[in-house]
């Protein structure tokens, strides 16, 4: 190991990795550093890499002068509802696709794969007109429906792969032991599928949490906005308060990264089956 590290090739790799790391991580470091700097240090030239005087004033302004907490609550509510709804429907659907044979099953699978390719911009205009007609524009319900529709294709696809990995024999054994089908599912299949369901749920959560376009178009009242739009609108104020914006950016990134670290080990499996889009 030591030998490898000191070899020329080992050092080259180390340098390449270091450059790669700095290019990806540095913007985050800069965001964190800026959000703890007092105003006069933010605009100082040449810039300091770390705050000389550590302050929480940016966060205080964010909470006092903006509706950050309302946006945060809205984001949590909308994303969580979308996860619960998507996971319920997708788990039932994926179970059906892997455990039953019925007419049109393969066709449904290809429909799911096809709709996975849809990008929001391709449906947002007719979607908006329809939502308007239904009279639910400017409600959280419209957002939850949009996210559920958008996350269903990849959730079904991913959960289908997870269910395929659970041997049918286990369920059959429970059935021969006299358990009903529903009991077999609840006590045997679902616990085994749980890691997959959690991972898929987190992907859905991140997608809903990060979304900008649906909120921009479907929501008009300020008190119903979620974080992405809320932060973007802070930027459009006349005088840009960089410290406050960076602290807001940092706070909306934290939940995503916490969840991300949580699901990292499922990520490769999720990638292969198309869990991540955008």
């Amino acid at each position: 190991m030591k030998n490898k590290f000191f070899s020329v090739r080992g050092q080259q790799i180390y340098w390449c990795a270091a450059i790669l790391f700095v290019l990806t991580a540095f913007p985050f470091f800069w965001m964190i550093s800026t959000s703890f700097k007092p105003l006069r240090e933010i605009f100082v030239y040449p810039p300091y890499f770390l705050p000389k005087e550590f302050t929480l004033a940016n966060f205080e302004r964010l909470f006092e002068q903006t509706r950050f907490l309302t946006y945060f609550k809205n984001s949590v509510f909308v994303a969580t509802s979308a996860v619960v709804l998507t996971m319920t429907i997708a788990t039932a659907g994926a179970y059906s696709l892997t455990r039953f044979r019925f007419y049109g099953r393969e066709r449904i699978a290809s429909l799911i794969l096809f709709t996975y390719m849809f990008a929001p911009i391709m449906i947002i205009i007719p979607f908006y007109v329809l939502i308007k007609k239904m009279g639910i524009a400017n409600t959280h319900l419209a957002l939850i429906m949009a996210y559920t529709a958008f996350c269903l294709p990849f959730s079904l696809w991913l959960l289908r792969a997870f269910f395929q990995g659970i041997p049918m024999a286990l369920e059959e054994a429970a059935l021969t032991d006299g358990a009903g089908r529903i009991r077999a599912v609840i006590y045997v299949t679902l616990p085994l599928a749980l890691p997959g369901i959690i991972a898929t749920g987190i992907f859905t959560f991140i997608l809903a949490w990060n979304d900008y376009i649906f909120v921009r178009i479907l929501i008009t009242s300020d008190e119903l906005k979620t974080l992405s739009v809320g932060i973007a609108d802070l930027y459009n104020a006349t005088v840009i308060d960089w410290g406050m914006i960076m602290s807001g950016g940092m706070l909306i990134t934290i939940p995503v990264l916490v969840f991300f670290i949580f699901i990292q080990r499922y990520l490769i499996a999720g990638w292969g089956t198309g869990a991540v889009k955008g």
Binding site: F5, A17, L20, F21, L23, T24, A25, P27, F28, W30, M31, T34, I89, A90, A92, G93, S96, R99, F100, R101, I108, L111, I112, F118, A119, P120, I121, M122, I123, I124, I125, P126, Y128, V129, L130, M145, A146, A149, L152, P153, L156, W209, N210, Y212, I213, I217, L227, N236, W242, I245, M246, I252, T253, V256, L257, Q264, L267, W271, G274, V276
Partner: protein
């Protein structure tokens, strides 16, 4: 038992299929229908105009500009993402201390909300106080600060930001495949006297062919239809029209000029271009076993 089980299966999948049809497939079809109408975005009145929207766009210079900008944006970001992504994956496939940590951090840009990526880079590229201008001036590359959000450099800035945000997708897909290449292949090539470059071309690349086929396809679809990164970078700025790609143009027609019919026509054209290019792509590079 069989019939009963078939029924249960259909009942369980029904909600998913219904929702997908109602909220994804139906809107797309409804969008095609809308594209034949002159329709205001907010008011219910609409008037059938046949193909007039399509003819209008054919003569609309803004439409052709948006096709051009959209193509420049997607082609350049896709090429750069693939190149940067494959290089990064090759590095991360080597053994070094702290590898797992770097592998995790490298995916961050892809996971964060787009709005965060945008505000981060707007701050870094700020012409007066931005760190990028400062560093470039400190090492003597430039004398005067560059105006990254100005009309000359806005496309470059957009491309840099997009590549930064989306290359991790390529890294993870390629890395997963690299890990499954049997080491014996490399040893055989070494015995045959192949150098590092030759091993990459003759062993690694053919193995990556299938994963690259899928990654390029997905990235192309998503970059060509990318809205939020482009819009968030330029909204309200004077340089907006120098990166007005097709998705942004469709959005503006619908939600700023309130022409939902024309907006839908743009979305339909986008969909058409995607389907046609996907078909050509499959014809040129596709193999049976990949689908």
């Amino acid at each position: 038992m069989k019939i009963h089980s078939q029924k249960a299966g259909i009942i369980l999948i029904a909600p998913a299929v219904l929702l997908i049809c109602a909220l994804l497939v139906y809107p797309v079809l409804y969008g095609v229908w809308l594209s034949f109408f002159k329709k205001h975005s907010f008011f219910p009145d609409q008037r059938f105009v046949g193909l007039a929207n399509y003819f209008y766009l054919l003569k609309d210079p803004e439409f052709w500009m948006s096709v051009w900008y959209g193509t420049v944006y997607s082609v350049s970001t896709i090429c750069l993402q693939i190149i940067v992504g494959v290089i990064a994956a090759l590095i991360l496939n080597e053994a070094f201390r702290g590898r797992n940590f770097v592998r995790g951090v490298i995916l961050f840009p892809y996971m964060i909300p787009t709005v965060v990526a945008i505000i981060l880079w707007k701050w870094l590229l700020n012409d007066q106080f931005g760190l990028v201008n400062y560093l470039l001036m400190a090492i003597g590359v430039i004398r005067e600060p560059l105006c990254w959000m100005g009309k000359d450099l806005i496309m470059t800035s957009l491309i840099i930001i997009s590549v930064w945000e989306f290359f991790p997708f390529v890294v993870l897909s390629v890395l997963a495949r690299l890990q499954s290449i049997p080491p014996a292949l490399y040893e055989a090539a070494k015995v045959d006297g192949a150098g590092a470059a030759s091993r990459f071309i003759h062993v690694t690349l053919p193995q990556l062919r299938n994963v690259l086929f899928v990654v390029i396809l997905l990235r192309s679809i998503w970059m060509f239809t990318k809205f939020d990164t482009v819009w968030l970078l330029t909204q309200g700025g004077g340089a907006e029209k120098y990166v007005r790609t097709l998705p942004v143009y469709a959005y503006m027609r619908t939600f700023m000029y309130y022409q939902a019919g024309l907006g839908s026509t743009l979305a339909v054209i986008m969909f058409g271009i995607l389907i046609a290019s996907t078909a050509i792509y499959f014809k040129m590079f596709g193999r049976e076993e990949e689908i």
